[in-house]
């Protein structure tokens, strides 16, 4: 009997430990929040304005990271998101100056869809791995953005556009918070509750088994890459709205934060496993760390080092051991 009890106890412990690793992102988020709250309170960390600022700075990463979660779950990767965001900010700003806000929104979305279709076509039809396709696209998108804008910032004069896309707030709550919540909710439902989401996970978890089961795996990959570019374009439009201008540097280097957010959240780089809620928390955690390090008064160089160290620590803790 004692044997059975210890067995049961060790099983419960095992389950907790397994969950502990799986849930490290949530635990880590709370721990970092508490530590910053305790040590940085005199510098205004808990000030609502500061916390809302974290949301403002995180939303674009979160929007791209939600789509990246689908891409990674399908066993692919999209390195072009940051550059696509920059390009979309330029096309949207240019289009608004000619056609007004609605024309601008259409142009921005069209930019994302067009690049996504091209990425998807190269990856699934020509057979270039998405790592290479999107690495090349990163340069192409940035180049086009520089060329179209003549490397200058293009102002956006439409107040309405700026309010909806990142600049506005309802009371003190920034519109960006709603963008993040909507993307998170929709992404979560798509991945967990739709047959499309199941097929994405199946494609990344075992491509051959998925294909033998009648899933059009090339079609799934094509679609997640289009979704990713489109989300990146929306993130670029949010940057443009918030800063009331489009410029090619917007979103530069974001691909690393986006992938880090998804992986921190528990999405596998090798496909088949993903969680959108984890990704959102991962993005918020990166925002939190950035904010805390700035409040600490670290220099930019020191921030980079500290941020990298914290991310490595969190991912290392989440790895399964045998």
């Amino acid at each position: 009997m004692a044997n059975t009890e210890t067995n049961l106890a060790s099983k419960t412990l095992d389950a907790f430990l397994a969950n502990w690793r799986q849930n490290i992102i949530y635990i880590g988020f709370v721990v970092i929040f508490v530590v910053f709250a305790a040590t940085l309170n005199d510098r205004g960390f808990l000030n609502p304005n500061n916390l809302l600022n974290i949301v403002r700075q995180t939303t674009m990463i979160a929007v791209m990271a939600v789509a990246m979660t689908l891409v990674l779950s399908a066993g692919e990767i999209d390195l072009s998101v940051g550059a696509v965001a920059g390009l979309a900010s330029v096309t949207v700003a240019l289009a608004i100056s000619v056609m007004g806000p609605f024309g601008g929104i259409v142009a921005g979305l069209a930019t994302g869809i067009a690049i996504g279709v091209f990425n998807g076509w190269l990856t699934t039809k020509i057979g270039i791995p998405s790592f290479l396709t999107t690495l090349a696209m990163m340069g192409i998108a940035k180049g086009i953005a520089m060329w179209m804008s003549d490397t200058a910032a293009i102002p956006i004069l439409s107040q309405g556009y700026s309010w909806w896309f990142g600049g506005g707030s309802i009371g003190r709550v920034p519109v960006l918070l709603f963008w993040m919540l909507i993307f998170g909710a929709v992404g979560h439902v798509v991945l967990r509750r739709t047959s499309f989401g199941r097929r994405v996970l199946a494609t990344g978890g075992g491509e051959q088994a998925a294909s033998y089961s009648g899933i059009n795996t090339a079609g799934i990959k094509f679609r997640v890459l289009v979704l990713s570019s489109t989300a990146a374009a929306i993130a670029g439009m949010l940057y443009a709205g918030r800063l009331q201008s489009g410029r090619f540097q917007l979103g530069e280097g974001d691909e690393l934060s986006v992938i880090a957010a998804a992986v921190l959240g528990g999405t596998s780089l090798f496909g088949g496993k993903g969680t959108v809620i984890g990704t959102i928390v991962g993005a918020l955690m990166i925002g939190l760390i950035n904010n805390g390090l700035i409040l600490m008064g670290l220099e930019f160089s020191q921030q980079l080092i500290a941020r990298g160290g914290i991310i490595i620590l969190a991912v290392a803790l989440s790895q399964k051991r045998n």
């Binding site: 044997n3 059975t4 210890t6 067995n7 060790s10 099983k11 439902v189 509750r193 739709t194 047959s195 499309f196 989401g197 199941r198 097929r199 996970l201 199946a202 978890g205 075992g206 051959q208 088994a209 998925a210 294909s211 033998y212 089961s213 009648g214 899933i215 059009n216 088949g272 496993k273």
Partner: protein, 522 residues
């Protein structure tokens, strides 16, 4: 009397409260090929992992050539001369044979790697062991059999005196198996002790000197192979009087209408001009050696490879199958050869795997209906008696037999008319095998048309109503089950009848092969 190469005494291994091994004695002599037998979960792999230093035994001692092994680490076991060859090959495909053999022990001249010297040494080694492989070949270009031999030569070159081979013949063609066996006999004559694990009793009978059988973590018996006829072996493994597969019940099924018809179907390379019909309630077997085009034919029917000419008809209507989705919609289900990569998604749950082929039926306007998913899965778990801790456990936690049942369940959910099974019992223990074969019979009884591929003839003979013999991409014989029985033998026991039938089928395959060679030469 030969010396004892390895002696394991009173080995026990507990995982939590589970006794994986209970006071097991195991002894292998120098110059002996010793078969280690048992069903899945009998404790074979745990025992080998203890020997290998991966597991530390809870109790018991290990002696290698009379010297007790005090350290239980993989390094200590390797230093003692124990080498394990896993089912998955451990060679690096982009390097040459010589580079692989001497990996991490490269010959240096002036601080730089000297590949010429490695090739010369490897050539010496291969010559000595009478293995005909050019050491400068890239491993990726070798056949499965040559890879297997290279791997063993690599182990021997590291002074392995005790060689553990786990299912070494699984990926091999018959001629490669012959070469492997000749090589193992050569090693044996040099005093190497070989522990041979296999589910294929025919091979054991051919190659092993003695066998040790484990069941439920306990030692059952150790005996000379000559004293262990097939029936006795299976009896010890299964633990009750059993004729193995002969115990499968064959309900009489009235043949229904034609469900699947192939008219002169060709694939890109194989198969060639295959015409066949399968009725509802009928199980048709495909016999033949590796490379005879059996798997290619299965892939054509399932839409994985394109047909280049000919016609596939299902329920008397021509169908145009160009992708797996087309085949599924036409009512075809394929239980594929490579279970781990083609059949299941190992890290995903039972419910996710079991519903993969019918997601659309279980969804409303794109949203999956969790209740329906669970209901469908539970129905399959019950119908096929799948043993799993829960439907939410990863399929990788199930035994091989139960994983295969999940694959079959996945297709049952789509209610197909035609089942194509490609080596459905590969790597599954004998107990679960007869369960799978029984399942095939039951599927036929429920009106499905079944095409079954298997390299184990006894399995085909037990499951099938007709057997088509393939060689070189063509179909040669179409033998009704009754024709394989010997009318003079009706009074003998079932196991003997099976044996007679197996010999006849074996001959048919060899004849088809000879005929096939004439066709391709003429």
């Amino acid at each position: 009397m030969s010396n004892v190469a390895v002696r394991m005494t009173g080995i026990s291994k507990h995982f939590g409260g589970v006794k994986a091994l209970d006071n097991v004695d195991f002894e292998v002599l120098e110059g002996e090929i010793h078969a280690l037998l048992g069903g899945n979960g009998a404790g074979k792999s745990t025992l080998l992992k203890v020997l290998n230093g991966v597991h530390i035994p809870t109790a018991g001692t290990i002696e290698v050539a009379g010297v007790p092994l005090t350290n239980h680490t993989p390094a200590a076991s390797r230093a003692a001369g124990i080498s394990m060859n896993y089912q998955e090959m451990s060679l690096i495909p982009t390097l040459s044979v010589a580079q692989n053999v001497f990996l991490t022990r490269e010959f240096l001249s002036g601080g730089l790697i000297n590949d010429k010297e490695a090739e010369r040494k490897a050539d010496e080694l291969f010559r000595m062991l009478e293995v005909d492989i050019d050491p400068s070949t890239i491993v990726g270009d070798l056949g499965a059999g040559q890879k297997q031999l290279t791997e063993i030569v690599k182990a021997i070159s590291r002074d392995a005196r005790i060689l553990v081979l786990d299912e070494p013949s699984t990926a091999l063609a018959v001629s490669d198996v012959d070469r492997l066996f000749a090589f193992l006999r050569k090693l044996k004559s040099q005093g190497v002790a070989i522990i041979y694990v296999s589910h294929r009793m025919d091979e054991i009978a051919r190659i092993a000197d003695r066998a040790t059988i484990l069941r439920d973590g306990k030692h059952v018996t150790t005996a000379d192979i000559a004293d262990l006829p097939l029936e006795t072996m299976i009896e010890h493994i299964v633990g009750k009087r059993s004729l193995g597969l002969a115990g499968v019940e064959r309900k009489d099924v009235s043949r229904g209408d034609v469900a699947l018809e192939l008219r002169k179907v060709c694939g890109r390379n194989k198969p060639r001009d295959i015409s066949l019909t399968i009725h509802k309630g009928e199980v048709v077997g495909l016999a033949g050696l590796l490379g005879s085009g059996r798997t290619s034919l299965a892939k054509l029917i399932a839409g994985i490879e394109p047909i280049t000419s000919g016609e596939i008809r299902i329920n008397d209507l021509p169908v145009n199958i160009r992708c797996p989705r087309d085949a599924i919609e036409a009512g075809v289900a394929l239980v594929p050869e490579a279970r781990a990569t083609q059949g299941i998604i190992p890290a995903h749950s039972v419910v996710d795997n079991a519903t993969l082929a019918v997601l659309d039926d279980l969804s409303n306007t794109g949203f999956v209906d969790g209740k329906k998913l669970r209901k469908t899965t539970d129905a399959q778990i019950e119908r096929l008696s799948i043993k799993t801790a829960s439907r939410d456990h990863a399929v990788s936690t199930l035994s091989g037999g139960n994983q295969q049942k999940v694959v079959i369940g996945k297709w049952l959910a789509s209610d197909p008319d035609v089942f194509v099974l490609d080596e459905p019992t590969a790597g599954i223990d004998i107990g679960s095998k007869s369960e799978i074969i029984q399942m095939v019979r039951d599927l036929a009884a429920s009106g499905k048309a079944i095409l079954m591929i298997s390299s184990e003839l006894s399995e085909l003979l037990t499951a099938c109503d007709r057997i088509i013999v393939m060689a070189d991409g063509r179909a040669y014989d179409d033998i009704p089950h009754a024709d394989l029985k010997d009318p003079a033998e009706v009074n003998s026991n079932a196991a003997h009848r099976l044996q007679v039938a197996e010999q006849r089928l074996q001959i048919a395959i060899q004849e088809a092969l000879a005929e096939g060679q004439e066709v391709s030469n003429g």
